[in-house]
Amino acid sequence: MSGDAVEDLLYQGFQGRLLEESLRRMPPSRRPRAATSIDVRAIVIARAMRQTVDGRGDLCCPGPMSPGPALAFGATPLEFLRHVTRKGTSPASARAGGTSWTDLRRGLIGWDGARGTMTQVLAGAALAFAQRGQDRAALVFERRSAIETGAWHEGMNFAAAQRAPVIVVLAPPPRRGRRDRAEIEGVARGYGVGLLWFGGEPLIDVFESVAGARRRAVAGEGPSLIALAPRTDVDLQASLDAFTEWALAEGDRTGGDLESIERAAAAGVDHALGRIGKEPDPDPEEALAAVRTDTPSIRPWTRMKSPRPDGLAGTAPSGASGVH
């Protein structure tokens, strides 16, 4: 693990933690509906992939686990807040928002719809990487429940059959009464894909394992499945703390370095929280036009052309911009 990666992970881990806290404090009306809990393991997994910001790096679907992996792929706290609070400065956030946050140049692709779909989509993206012989891989975070959907099986099976360089994470918890480990192991065996099972091991080990899975995937050895065992919030916090300690012990960082990283992370989150309220709302005509690439501008329902042969409408009701 490079020094850069350690530095990034500390910064993103702190920011993730702060963002999560700030979301919990938001009034219910503004609080995003999408799940936003941060599992720091997800940041680590995302960071273990190779990323570049020119649309030629890895592709990551943070799924309902955002914002963690999004931060690891270079998103700022302000961008994150824009999306979960549906602000208009990014048209996509106002239109689909939350976890549908997508920025392909940065390697982020979001989704807040049916479970399982994104495993199909990322399998196909990975196929494109392999076809071009690129050193790129795809990473998708699904909730554990995705395994219940046929969509997920079709995606996983396709990925396995094509040996597409994709890494599929199943995040906890399993739903009430579901079989757990045996089911995932059976599936991995059935599709002939590698399986990594992460519980409470040190984050550095998680990082190295994922980096290895990525290397194998890009080398054509096929996809990997990662299962995250459920952990309590306290455990997750503890694992970030342990990582911090490790960074202190292993590297040449001082307590002062760490404090400075934490301050910088906090400043970014504070800035974002201050700014987000002042962001403009979206403009409907512009925001709703992008349904097809060649869509003519939106024509609202009552603004049809006159149905009269002479091209004249009935007397337009006063005050109504309506029919014309």
């Binding site: 939350g98 549908s100 009430r176």
Partner: protein, 340 residues
């Protein structure tokens, strides 16, 4: 006695007005009491009581064999419901949001809708769940799904607008021998303006029959669901200009009550269709065709429509309000058509 019952099924027993959500819960409860063949399937409908709590407490009364928590696999459990229906049961499937009926599109249109035709006999099955926008749910938790199924012979589609209709129509849907898609607008679930004292007796409202929500002479507004209420508001507005709109609440979309539409049009000569669903390929088109086929010469103006914009449902409140048809839109179109 009724203190043991979940609160949402006791309104009528207690002589209190019910919301649409309570009316639906009462219909489910009473049908399960009346007919042991009726059972429920869906995601988290048991211990959790469902995403909107329609079935809260049902599992305590009816047990996990009749209130089945399913895996997240809408196709799979809808197909399984069909199998149970073949064997004489009467499944009621809940989609957590009706948007998630899409993974069941194949089994519904190809297997279930064709069952009787293929010689496998009646297939009594209801798929119900929340639809509609205005709740800032974004593109995957706000859809209307009627037009995904309207073109499929063999299905029925029901979409109530009041507590009384919701209960009576859901009972009919459960007792019907055909597969029925039952849409519940989540904006009506708990709407304070949409509470009603329901009949104490075991009433059912026939499928396929529209209802005149308001009588009028000048203009027919054909609509359904939440838009019935928007249209009634618009009609009140139009009445100030002495434009008397008749509002027809379709209640059942498939089969379409074309007799009711034609009869009203023959009185008013003008037809405006209002639907919350998006414009192109919406139900207004079929209504226009039926009227052309049966009552063209009665038309004193074009058939017009007020609908949502052709786009996915937006997430931001500003955009969603712009996207959805409004009372003002209906008033504008109504005035225009009246003066035509």
């Amino acid at each position: 006695m009724s203190t043991d019952l979940p609160a949402q099924v006791t309104r009528t027993r207690e002589g209190r007005p019910a919301t649409v959500l309570e009316a639906i819960a009462e219909a489910l409860w009473e049908e399960m009491e009346r007919d042991e063949r009726v059972f429920l399937l869906g995601e988290d409908i048991g211990a959790y009581g469902g995403a909107f709590k329609v079935t809260r407490g049902f599992i305590d009364r009816f047990g996990p064999a009749r209130v089945i928590d399913t895996p997240i696999s809408e196709g799979g459990f809808t197909g399984a419901a069909a199998g149970a229906a073949h064997m004489g049961l009467r499944p009621v499937v809940e989609m957590q949001f009706m948007d998630f009926i899409s993974p069941a599109y194949d089994v519904l249109t190809n297997y279930i809708a064709t069952s009787l035709y293929r010689g496998a006999g009646p297939l009594p099955l209801v798929v119900r769940g929340p639809v509609g926008g205005g709740n800032r749910g974004g593109p995957f938790h706000s859809q209307n799904v009627e037009m995904a199924f309207f073109h499929t012979p063999g299905l029925k589609i029901v979409y109530p607008s009041t507590p009384r209709d919701a209960k009576g129509l859901l009972k009919s849907a459960i007792r019907d021998d055909n597969p029925v898609i039952f849409e519940e607008h989540k904006g009506l679930y708990r709407a304070p303006y949409c509470r009603e004292l329901l009949p104490r007796d075991d009433y059912a409202i026939p499928l396929g029959k529209a209802r005149t929500a308001l009588e009028g002479e000048d203009l027919t507004i054909v609509t359904y669901g939440l838009m019935v209420h928007r249209s009634l508001e618009a009609a009140a507005e139009l009445a100030k200009d002495r434009i008397r709109a008749e509002v027809i609440d379709l209640r059942t979309l498939l089969p379409l009550d074309e007799d009711a539409i034609v009869a009203s049009l023959q009185k008013t000569g003008k037809l405006l269709v209002v639907h919350e669903d998006t414009r192109t390929g919406g139900i207004a088109g079929e209504i226009a065709m039926r009227v052309n086929e049966r009552a063209f010469e009665w038309l004193d103006g074009p058939i017009l429509r007020v609908t949502a914009i052709d786009a996915p449902v937006p997430f931001s409140g500003e955009l969603e309000d712009y996207f959805l048809p409004s009372v003002a839109d209906v008033v504008t179109a109504g005035r225009y058509l009246f003066r035509y």
